[in-house]
């Protein structure tokens, strides 16, 4: 092969970019295969499975269109799971963000021991949710749990000092259909609070002190400082925390299964989450197609809520 002198530089530059592209695809080969087979194909497969009756042998699955989705519209247990899951999000997200922000602001006010406090608040976040759920399940135990023991001690104490109207009734916690879901929500909040504290504290520390000094010279009170400096400048972090904790709440599984192991999702399905419902249908009753339809709905809910939240919160950044 003969190479003419004048075009040599341009030729070699071209081959350099080509060479780079070839290498890029060589490096991406295994990862792209992974994403195609382990991420994309299963997502599409779930959509497909949700329109077929289930059988281990693909040849014996029959197409039924949207029948499973129609069943979801009618199924009371699914409705309960859906309501519960939204309730988990509606309770845990605002409470843990408010508490997390409050604690982060308190932490910023103290100089000594900040690191120790931060570590204590954060520790539950990285411990296994399964074990955490068993520990709380034990504390919530109706007959022998520590919470009811404290309630009874308190009762006896207030009777002794002559203020019986301060007494609280012992609770049935996870066995009471009205109390069970909030009781589980407390566990979720307790476990993820540290995450909020850590990212809010970092966000607060990123706000330049001069802003506060300038505003104070202008005579701003602490609430105005929070309202007009802290809150708007912390907005990106708040958006991030809201999106993450909402998605986590919509996917609750580990805690729900383990906190009430002998009656998972109970009592009366009042703690049942969508993820647990999916698991029970797919792996307890072998209704894979129906369970796949449940997961498609979950996907759509997460998608819609994420998009709405990003829209709403991005608008608020304006001022």
């Amino acid at each position: 092969m003969s190479v003419k002198q004048p075009i040599r530089p341009s030729r070699s530059r071209l081959s350099l970019t080509q060479r780079e592209a070839v290498y890029a695809y060589v490096f991406l080969a295994v990862p792209l295969l992974f994403f195609a087979v382990i991420r994309f194909y299963p997502a599409i497969q779930s959509l497909r499975l949700s329109t077929f009756t289930w059988h281990v042998d693909p040849a014996r699955r029959t197409f039924i269109g949207l029948q499973y989705y129609e069943e979801l519209l009618r199924n009371d247990v699914f409705h309960q799971a859906l309501i519960n899951t939204l309730l988990y999000a509606v309770i845990t997200v605002p409470v843990s963000i408010a508490l997390g922000l409050g604690i982060a602001i308190l932490l910023q006010a103290v100089a000594k021991g900040r690191g120790v406090f931060r570590a204590i608040y954060f520790a539950p976040y990285i411990t296994p949710a399964v074990a955490i759920a068993w520990v709380w399940g034990w504390m919530y135990n109706v007959n022998f749990g520590i919470f009811n023991r404290i309630i009874i001690e308190w009762w006896e104490f207030v009777e002794r000092i002559g203020l019986p109207w301060l007494a609280i009734e012992p609770q049935r916690f996870l066995r009471d259909p009205e109390v069970a879901l909030p009781a589980v929500a407390v566990v979720i909040i307790w476990q993820q609070l540290g995450f909020q504290v850590v990212i809010f504290l970092a966000g607060l520390q990123g706000i330049p002190r001069v802003y506060y000094e300038a505003a104070r010279i202008d005579g701003a009170n602490p609430w105005q400082l929070f309202r007009h400096i802290t809150f708007p400048l912390l907005n990106p972090v708040l958006v991030f925390a809201t999106v993450i904790t909402t998605i986590n709440a919509l996917q609750l599984f580990d805690q729900i299964v383990n906190i009430n192991f002998t009656n998972q999702g109970g009592p009366l399905n009042r703690t049942l989450s969508i993820a647990l419902y999916m698991y029970q249908e797919a792996f307890g009753r072998a209704r894979m197609g129906y369970a796949a339809a449940v997961t498609v709905v979950l996907f759509l809910i997460i998608l819609i809520i994420t998009l709405i939240q990003l829209r709403l919160t991005q608008r608020r950044v304006e001022y």
Partner: protein, 291 residues
Amino acid sequence: MLRDGARLRRGLDQSVQPQGRRLNGWTLLAYVLLTLGAVIMVFPFAWMLISSFKDAREVLSPAILPSEWTLANYIEVLTRTAFPRWFLNSLIVAVLNTTSVLFFCALVGYVLARMRFPGKNIIFIAILSTLMVPTEMLVIPWFVMSVQFNWVDTYWGLLFPGLIPGFGVFLMRQFFQTLPRDLFDAGRIDGVSEFGLFLRIGLPLVGPGLAALGIFAFIGNWNAFLWPLIVVQSASMRTVPVGIALFSGEAGAAWHLIMATSALAIIPVLLVFIIFQRQIIEGVVLTGVKG
């Protein structure tokens, strides 16, 4: 100018002096509230430990502390269950998985941040879009696949879903993008291979990103429950979370044993956390800010 600023600041400090005393009151209040909160945060761990040192009778009695602190529950759990095996399984899966996550996320992140090739944006958006799909939507097809290829009850079966998380790719890409272009151009001129540019020039400069990603991959794997619960069927392949869940489920009202099991699952994580506290928290901040 500078001196004016300094004087202004000094003046400011003086002007807030009376407020300063009131601020001390606020600081005291902050300490009180924070301590109260910290007690609430620590209490479940403390109660778990206290319960785990009681015997079967005492754990159900109203006494707060055990009359005799006993390790019998731990010995019983460790000998009666396959806990050491679960621990080993979790360790194997977490180590292999973390290795894969670090290597592949860094490689893909590097390629997407630093190399020029057609189709780059489409690939990046495709990988990002996998973040929107919840795991729940994937476990049924994963299980069908695992049955088909005999991956049920194998380490590979436990491993394969998390080999390259899209989030890790995104994170590493962000890190590689901050590196100066000249560095890689200089390397190219010196004749460093494309893989060498990634391995010897890029990788050493994204240490904080790798540390954060590695810690999260490891902890995430260690705590994972949904997929291991599905893909593990024999007792010997259980990971720690699956093992303690199923054992505790069988233990009935043996709360002294259940609390010992929970403690065995939680204590190693807390120890790792105490040792790597700074890195872990910085990792959360880093991913929180970057993500």
